[in-house]
């Protein structure tokens, strides 16, 4: 076949390898900076079935790096616009466009239809969702992530290898890791990283060379430094995902920002943290008081008119008697555009118990 001649004449691929590519099914999540080069090379290589899922539309600021799109694609859905361009590039394969958001509900059935999943998304919520759905459906995941002038590439869940959670078990906190639209990105960088992802996909299908399973490749476009870091599998992290699989599809879908959905924290999570303003939204007469922490007291009934007492530089942790008023307080503050506010799950007496227990632990250790 003339189209794939340059593959077929490679002795490492040949007609046999090309047939493997034509039989493969690859799903690319996100048709953005990373997804575009991945899709372009997979389509050129003749992957038989390519799925592309993206809910977003093409905007002018995408054209600096998202190489599948042109001026005529503006305001079109990215999955649809990508499909149009890719079908022109290769009309002998099947391109399926899913102009929707990946969710806990649709990911399992979608992933089940493909052999390999590619992560080209731009936020942590979806990255963890993709990782978990890949573990549950037992699909290898080709991962790429970028930040300004740097990129990371890896292969997860391949032949019982490590997953994204083995590398980063804790999803980053709200606002701690911005994405391209917030901090900018060198246009060619996703081209480099996405091309490496496409290369990993081809190697997995062709069983060629060494892939990045168990390794994180870090690339710096400014210094031209490549580092490869060895990642060990954490059975504990993978087991947690597997055990949650029965309830996976019932979970809330992620939003499309870096902010985690949860406004709730437990005292155990934040007790050791600094730079926190604890706010008691109970009325002044309510007991018990929390004596061991520095507390700002602003009853919920007067919160709206007393926001000057709230420290904008600190993380606000709000509590009450049972965790209900504190939740209302967080929602109220969010409406007032006061961010970085969390509601403590525990009430005042549980907070006191926790502090006493922690202090006893410390005493016992001595």
């Amino acid at each position: 076949m003339e189209r794939y001649n340059r593959h077929i004449i490679l002795s490492e691929i040949g007609q046999e390898g090309q047939d493997k590519l034509n039989q493969a099914k690859v799903l690319v999540v996100g048709a953005g900076g990373l997804g575009c080069p991945v899709l372009q090379y997979l389509t050129g290589a003749g992957i038989g079935t390519i799925g592309v899922i993206d809910f977003d539309i093409v905007s002018k600021s995408n054209l600096q790096r998202q190489v599948l799109f042109g001026t005529s694609s503006l305001d079109k859905n990215k999955a649809i616009a990508a499909k149009e361009r890719l079908e022109d590039l290769n009309d002998s394969i099947l391109i399926k466009a899913y102009p929707e958001k990946l969710t806990h509900q649709n990911s399992i059935s979608l992933f089940s239809k493909y052999d390999i999943i590619v992560d080209g998304t731009d936020n942590f919520e979806t990255r963890y969702l993709i990782n978990d759905a890949s573990i549950i459906t037992k699909k290898p995941l080709v991962f790429g992530g970028i930040y300004k002038f740097e990129g990371q590439v890896s292969v997860f869940n391949y032949n019982d290898g490590p997953s994204y959670r083995c590398l980063f078990p804790n999803p980053p906190k709200a606002g701690s890791a911005p994405n391209c639209s917030e901090v900018g990105v060198l246009g060619v960088l996703p081209g480099i990283i996405g091309s490496m992802q496409a290369n990993e996909v081809l190697k997995l299908i062709l069983n060629l060379g060494q892939n990045l399973s168990g390794k994180l490749l870090c690339y710096n476009a400014l210094t031209l430094q490549f580092s490869i870091i060895k990642i060990n599998k954490s059975d504990k992290e993978i087991k947690k995902v597997v055990e949650s699989s029965s309830t996976f599809q019932n979970r809330n879908q992620p939003n499309n920002t870096c902010e985690p959905m949860s406004i709730f924290v437990s005292i155990d999570e934040i007790y050791q943290e600094d730079n926190i303003q604890y706010i008691d939204v109970r009325e002044a007469h309510e007991l018990p008081k929390v004596e061991e922490l520095e507390i700002t007291s602003i009853p919920l009934s007067v919160l709206q008119t007393n926001t000057t007492q709230i420290d904008p530089t600190k993380k606000k942790v709000i509590f009450c008697q049972a965790g209900i008023r504190s939740k209302h307080a967080v929602l109220l503050l969010q409406q007032l555009n006061i961010n970085n506010c969390f509601s403590l799950i525990e009430g005042a007496s549980q907070i006191n118990n926790h502090i006493v227990n922690k202090q006893n632990e410390i005493t016992n250790e001595r």
Binding site: F124, F168, I228, K230
Partner: protein
């Protein structure tokens, strides 16, 4: 002893350098991080993993290697 540390992504923005060598007399990674948190308090806000001689390590690990790397996750795509 001297330890060479590499910083990646937004970690390097906090430290204002992508690598440095520091004098370190303790033994565990936990102690090294405590020293770095004093030097760069904003590191505490960030999620990152640590590698020693190109291999990811846990916080209790005793440092024996020559090169430490602080790796944050990248959201962008």
């Amino acid at each position: 002893m001297n330890i060479s540390i590499k910083y990646f992504g937004l970690i390097a923005e906090i430290t204002h350098c992508d690598h440095e060598t520091i004098d370190f007399s303790e033994s565990s990674l936990d102690e090294l991080l405590a020293q770095l948190y004093v030097k760069y308090p904003r590191l505490k806000e960030k999620e990152f993993q640590v590698a020693q001689d190109q291999e990811l390590i846990l916080k209790e690990t005793v440092l024996t290697g020559k090169e430490i790397a602080l790796l944050p996750p990248f959201a962008g795509g």
